[in-house]
Symmetry: C2
Subunit: 262 residues, 2 copies
């Protein structure tokens, strides 16, 4: 009702409030749109851009930064894709209003545990080659009975077993040494070997523990286990891994963020 601004006033980007300190470095090899996107994302995460806050229109933002509108749009678009912001024609772009975390990424149990502050330990139970069963052959796209690599690991945290990990790999794709497998995760080893992971198809379910699984995981036979099967592809579409994992239900759950595709 102040009479001067009838339209929604951007809370931060310009206006009477303290403007956001945004700037780009044209000598940097980092793309301009990426620099801007990073700064905006940091502002959202640190609360300097409050949920619901309007970003201010793209034209002003562009001229303020000495950029063109397409570049600013490209920056904002990456944040919209991440679910951090919403655009509304005729209204503006605003910070999404909820405790949104990251969308689900192709995650590794090792990394998950490490970021959670737990120090994961890995025991390699098997690291050999064996003839592919029908299921494994179909997943890896090789002939049934041909030799494939098998890695079986028991992962623990805080001294308690958490998961039993069985992974099948095409032969000769990555050399896997036991000491490396015990020191880090499989995905890191694959990336270090020059493989660019691209996508994965996962199935998550549940079932009762077998006697062998119960022994390894320190559970009772028949106890509920969380299961995950995953086929991972690299950027050329090759299958690089087929994993069958079981997790102790009391100690692990999958948590992730979904976005509605407009």
């Amino acid at each position: 009702m102040s009479g001067q601004a009838n339209y929604a006033r951007p809370v931060t980007a310009h206006g009477t409030d303290r403007p956001l300190p945004l700037s780009v470095d044209r000598t940097s090899p980092v793309p301009l749109y990426f620099q801007l996107a990073q700064q905006l994302e940091a502002a959202v995460e640190q609360g300097r851009l409050a949920p619901g806050a309007l970003l201010g229109n793209e034209i002003d933002l562009a001229s303020r930064l000495g950029l063109s509108r397409p570049t600013v749009r490209q920056a904002i678009q990456t944040l919209v894709d991440k679910g951090l912001m919403v655009r509304r024609r005729g209204v503006g772009t605003q910070v999404v209003h909820s405790q949104v975390r990251r969308p689900l990424e192709l995650s590794s149990l090792y990394d998950d545990l490490e970021t959670a502050g737990q120090r994961p330990a890995t025991a390699v139970l098997r690291n050999t080659t064996e003839p592919a069963t029908a299921e494994v052959a179909a997943a890896l796209g090789v002939a049934e009975g041909s030799e494939v690599h098998l890695v079986e690991r028991l992962r623990s945290a805080h001294g308690e077993p958490m998961a039993l990990l069985r992974n099948h790999l095409p032969p000769g794709l990555v050399p896997l040494r036991i000491d490396e497998l015990e020191a880090t995760g499989l995905y890191r080893l694959m990336r270090a070997a020059g493989i660019t992971l691209h996508s994965a198809r996962q199935t998550v379910g549940a079932r009762a523990a077998t006697v062998g699984e119960a022994r390894d995981l320190d559970e009772e036979p028949g106890a509920p286990l969380l299961t995950m099967e995953r086929v991972t592809y690299d950027d050329t579409g090759r299958v690089v891994e087929f994993g069958s994992h079981v997790y102790r239900a009391a100690r692990y759950a999958f948590e992730f963020q979904l976005l509605v595709r407009p």
Copy 2:
């Protein structure tokens, strides 16, 4: 070898092979980039664009269609985002080489069953309001003890129970009639009420069935169940639903596609 084309030859978009029939309708209100993206996606799905096939460079494609390069790029970008294609600088854009399906969407069990050809049946066990427990209040962002809407449903397929669905909603958000709840899914009712779903935070785990769950689901007490908890947000960031679902482990699993965010 042939002496005329030293560079990788696009298999379909131009060259000696039959070119893809692509065209855009400038009188249509559908955006041009979207028309092109749809046609390319259809060509991939029908196999007219084989996996690994190069798309041909963007400049030619643009001039052939009478479009500008940014528009063509925008079309291709949507397919790259979906994981159907991969760009390589200096090489070109090629169709991804695997049986990639859709990425995980904010899915409804009802829709999942329906598309799988099973005819889901729903029995509404409860449809009332009740005071929010601490857990529900935290999820919905309301005061503990305040009245919230509760819907409890048993979903079956082929005459067998599949899942027990408990959903809490903010009061007064959507009017829910029992006959509607038994005829369709909750998400459809919410969309029909003008709510634009935006994102959800899910946790998937497993546990043993309680006595009551076992009775409803026709399982033994202690049988493994797949559990899913979900908080759903609309595009303004409001929480619109908190769901606690349990599925019979033998009859249901979550299956989804993950993409690595570059």
